[in-house]
Each structure stands twice: as structure tokens, then as C-alpha cells.
């Protein structure tokens, strides 16, 4: 069952001189199994919005329905809502408090009133899901772990409640590139394997682009765009205007088009952009060795961009499998007259 948000408006400190509307008249439906990316500049209301989905904040106007139940009504058990919708806060490692990792992860299931056997089972399951060795870390103090591990424990603490919907607020904030990649990969796997609905808040386009099935773009408390990444990233200038960018791939396409290269519309992952460039150059993307060849003929500027493409390729590889075939066909369609296009590309 989906999550429905109807005319949600939230005002902080209403009636006081400090009153501020964080969300204004938001309407949307989130279907089961979706991977939603919530994008927005700092202060756009993303965090306020997701805190409504499990009843931590009450709307000033409007309602939120989870599985058809209006969670804003009195008498609705908030514990039931929080069982269904798990929320991982920004910097969740700061909420750890127990003596051992296992006890901390067990906090949620314990509040749900589960049996000890069930709790133990869930703790182990959750630790495995976040990529931690349960046997190794379960009995150590969470405060002895590294920052990245602490964050995984905190995410496990929410996962152990086995929510149907998992919300992550800036899960990669403050992590180094490696920690960032591995957390994103963990989230991708969770979504693929458990078929959970995942809602991820971020302001990083490159984090969200390869993962999300739908993007919600917020600005000043309003929903300004909603659609697949492909649809949303077409609006590069609108996104720039509200302080956001587009992923590297989409940005590269846009700049090439500005420079007169007839790049096909709607590309955003780096592998599909690379393939499109190769198609324009009249070369079929085949092997790595081939990929280097045409670059050498182009200007040094284009060369460095393509190096970037290759370097980032490995990190985006997992998502490329599904999308590259689709990209290839779209690239083939739009690049009628490859020889002509390639000449233009070379001029640019």
C-alpha cells in the first residue's frame, strides 16, 4: 500500500513572530517498491517533509496516509506507523547509546515488543544487511567503531524494525568517497533484495542519479519537479536556478550541446554519455581499448572530460548494466548521419 500525502503544509511556530512555513501544499503518492530521491537545496523542506511520513511532525494543514490510514488523526498508534516507516536521520551515528552494538540495534525491535529469539534473529539479519560482521562487532561498544561503521550500526538499528518503507536523510553526509560509495551500494542492494520502498534525501545529484526510480525536487517548501531521473535532468537550467546541478554526465551533454555537438537528449549516466559520444564519432562502443582511440583525435579539453568519464565508469558500473542497452538504442536513434555529427564533434 502506498504513502499518500495530501495538501501537506507545515509551519514552524505558527502565530509567533518567528513563524516560518517549511512546506507548502505538498501533494504526492509514493507507490510500494519505488526508490525515491528527494532533492533540494539546504532549507528547501526535505527533512521536514520526510519527518511527516512517520508521524514525527504533524502537518499544520493536510494529511498523510500510510497504507490507507490517516496517521495525522488522533488515536492512531504511532508505534505502528514507525514499524512501517523507518527513518534514518542525518548523522545517525550520534543517536547510538547502548553498551554493545547488538543491544543498540535491538532497541527498535524491543520497543516493538518482539520475543527475545525474534529480536536476536533480527539484530543478526540487520547487521548482515548493512555489511557488518555480526560475530565480530555485536559485542563491542558502538563508541569504539569507526565513523562509517557507526553509521552502519545506526542504519541497522532502523532496519531491524523491518519497515516496509525506509527513509534515509542524507546517508552519505560527511563520509569520504569510499565510505560514500559503499553506503550507496548497500542501499542499492537493500532496495533490490528486500523490495523495500526507499526514500533517500540528498542534495547530491551524483549520489541519487544511479539509484532512484523517481526524483522529487523541492524548493522553498514546494514540490517543483517530480519524475524519472531522465525527465528531471533535462531541466538543467531550472535545477541550476534553485541551487542544484545535474549529474556529471548530464552536465557534460549540456555543455557539448552548447558547443554545437548534437548530443541526444536525456542522457545522464556517464557510460551512456560515453557511448553517445562514441556513436557521434562514428565508432561503436565496444572495448576499453576502442574507447581511448577517438579521444586522442579530439581536443585536449574533450580528452580530459573523457578521462573523467572513464575514471568514474567503474563506480557507476553497477547501474550501467540495465541502462546502457537503453542508452545505446536512444543514442543510435538520435544520431542520424553519424559521419556529419562526428565532424561537428571534432570541430567543437
Amino acid at each position: 500500500m502506498p504513502i499518500q500525502v495530501e495538501h501537506l503544509t507545515h509551519t514552524y511556530l505558527p502565530g509567533s513572530p518567528f513563524s516560518a512555513t517549511a512546506i507548502h501544499d505538498l501533494c504526492l503518492t509514493i507507490e510500494d517498491g519505488e526508490f525515491i530521491g528527494v532533492l533540494g537545496h539546504t532549507g528547501s523542506g526535505k527533512t521536514t517533509f520526510v519527518q511527516h511520513l512517520n508521524g514525527l511532525l504533524k502537518p499544520t494543514v493536510g494529511r498523510v496516509l500510510v497504507d490507507g490510514t490517516d496517521i495525522t488523526q488522533k488515536g492512531v498508534s504511532l508505534l505502528d506507523v514507525r514499524k512501517k516507516v523507518g527513518l534514518v536521520f542525518q548523522y545517525p551515528e550520534y543517536q547510538l547509546f547502548e553498551e554493545t552494538v547488538a543491544k543498540d540495534v535491538a532497541f527498535g525491535p524491543k520497543n516493538m515488543g518482539l520475543s527475545k529469539v525474534e529480536i536476536d534473529e533480527r539484530v543478526r539479519w540487520a547487521l548482515v544487511q548493512v555489511g557488518l560482521d555480526a560475530a565480530q562487532v555485536a559485542d563491542s561498544s558502538p563508541f569504539e567503531l569507526s565513523g562509517g561503521q557507526m553509521r552502519r550500526v545506526a542504519i541497522a538499528g532502523v532496519l531491524a524494525m523491518k519497515p516496509k518503507t525506509l527513509i534515509l536523510d542524507e546517508p552519505t553526509a560527511g563520509l569520504d568517497p569510499r565510505g560514500r560509495r559503499s553506503i550507496l551500494e548497500m542501499i542499492r542492494r537493500l532496495h533490490a533484495e528486500t523490495h523495500m520502498t526507499v526514500i533517500m534525501v540528498s542534495h547530491s545529484m551524483d549520489d541519487i542519479a544511479p539509484l532512484a526510480t523517481r526524483l522529487l525536487v523541492m524548493n522553498r517548501g514546494e514540490l517543483v519537479m517530480s519524475g524519472t531521473p531522465r525527465e528531471v535532468f533535462r531541466h538543467r537550467n531550472e535545477l541550476k536556478a534553485i541551487g542544484l546541478g545535474v549529474p556529471q554526465g548530464a552536465e557534460l551533454c549540456w555543455r557539448l550541446r552548447e558547443a554545437g555537438v548534437p548530443m541526444p537528449d536525456g542522457l545522464y549516466t556517464l557510460p551512456e554519455v560515453r557511448d553517445a559520444i562514441l556513436a557521434l564519432a562514428g565508432l561503436r562502443p565496444a572495448t576499453e581499448a576502442d574507447a581511448v582511440q577517438p579521444n586522442a583525435a579530439q581536443s585536449s579539453d574533450a580528452q580530459s572530460r573523457n578521462d573523467q568519464v572513464d575514471a568514474a565508469q567503474s563506480s557507476a558500473a553497477q547501474s550501467s548494466a540495465a541502462q546502457s542497452s537503453d542508452a545505446q538504442s536512444s543514442a543510435a536513434q538520435s544520431s542520424e548521419g553519424p559521419a556529419d555529427a562526428a565532424r561537428k564533434g571534432a570541430n567543437a
Binding site: 508505534l79 523507518g86 527513518l87 547510538l96 547509546f97 527498535g108 532502523v158 524494525m161
Partner: protein, 267 residues
Amino acid sequence: MLKDITLGQYLPGNTVVHRLDPRTKILLTTAYIVLIFLVTSPLWYVVPALYVALAARLAGLSFGQMLKSVKPLRLLLILTFVLNLFFSGGTTVWVRWGIVNITREGVMLAIHFSMRLIFLVVGTSILTLTTSPVALSDGIEILLKPLKVFHFPAHELAMMMTIALRFIPTLIEETDKIMKAQQARGADFESGNLIARAKAMVPLLVPLFVSAFRRAGELAMAMEARCYHGGEGRTRLRVLRFTADDAKAILVTVAALALVVAGQKLL
């Protein structure tokens, strides 16, 4: 929800009272407290009343704002009034009802002590309403400086006050966030008996302490990185200076004190 609490009651402004040197204001407030304790009969509260009214008017404070400071004290006030009314003894009995005696002396005493409390709170609140916490701790630091002879850590005390005040909003925000994070994991802070509620605080207090210590460590490091080494040889951004207004304020206060002392003796 915790954000709704307003901390410190400083109301920014640019009146004569706001601009007074914080040292003057602290000293005058002390003098004002002495003044109140010098008043021996309810009638003479006219002097502190006029004094407070003048200060409030100059500071641009409304009657309602002044009264607000008394509100938290209403229970204590009622208790003071009732206890003095019934249990102070005396000879001139006005009402006799069973074992309850209300005497003339009792009524006078009840009024006297209630007035004393009200004037104490209202008068001193002018200080906190018109002086920013930073200026206040600056003033305290300088006033306590002579005590250094006795190894009294005046600078450290003032610095601690400033830092504590600075971090109150940060900690409130942090508490709010951790509370929500634990609620998202099914924590319940609002129901159950006293023991259950105390136990429910553990998931809130542990992370809060951890982060407070972390912040303290970071702050200490940041201060050291900027060469902080205590109060020795430290110069100030805002140098406090006595002005003509300070002199006038002191004159008015001394006059009020003299009036109460001399007036009560002579009349």
C-alpha cells in the same frame, strides 16, 4: 517542540538603559536590592515603585513585559501572602473565625513581604531584559577582577558563563533531534510511570552527553588553535566606558536610597 522555549529574556533595544555600562547596571541592581530591604513599611514602597517605573519607561518596557517576570513566582507569592496573613500573630484582631485569626499586623506583614518579593523580581528583571548575556558576563568579569588577589578565577568564570549561554540553543536543537531519532525507533518519552519515564531518558541522555563532551573537546581545540591562553593580556572587542548617562543613573539611585533612609527616619 523544545525549540518553543525562549531562553534568556534579553529584549534587544537601543534605549538609554540598554546603552548603560553593564557594570553600572549590575551595581545599580545591587543598590536597588539594598533599597528594597531598607523599606520597613508598605507605604514606602512608593519609592522603589517610582524607581522601577522610571527605569522601565526609559528602557521602553511595557507593564505586561514586567509582569511576565513575576508569573513563575505566583505560587511562592501566594504562599508568602497566606502564611504571613494567618500565622504572624499580633494583637489587633480583625477577623476571628474558629482557630483562624487575621490581625492587623498579619495583613501588614503579608502585604509587606509580597511587595518585597514582587519588587525584587520586577526590578532585577530590568537588568536581564536590557543587558545581553555577553555584556552581562563582561560586566561581571570586570567587577570581580579585584578578587584576583584572593585567587578568584574571575575571567574563567565569565568565560564559562559565556560559553554555557552560547551552547544552550545548540544543545536544545541536538536534544530535539536525538529525541526524534529515538522516537523513530519506537522510543516512548511520554507515557508510563515515573521509573519507566526515567529509564526512557537513557537513550536520550547518553548520546547528548557524548555529543556535549565531543563539542567541548572541539571547542577547546579551536580555542587553543587561536592561541587562547586564559585572561592574561587579553584585550576586548568592546571596551566598556562609563558615560554621562551612567553618572546620571548613579545619581538617581543614590537619591532614591537617601530618600528612603532619611524619609523613614524623619517621618
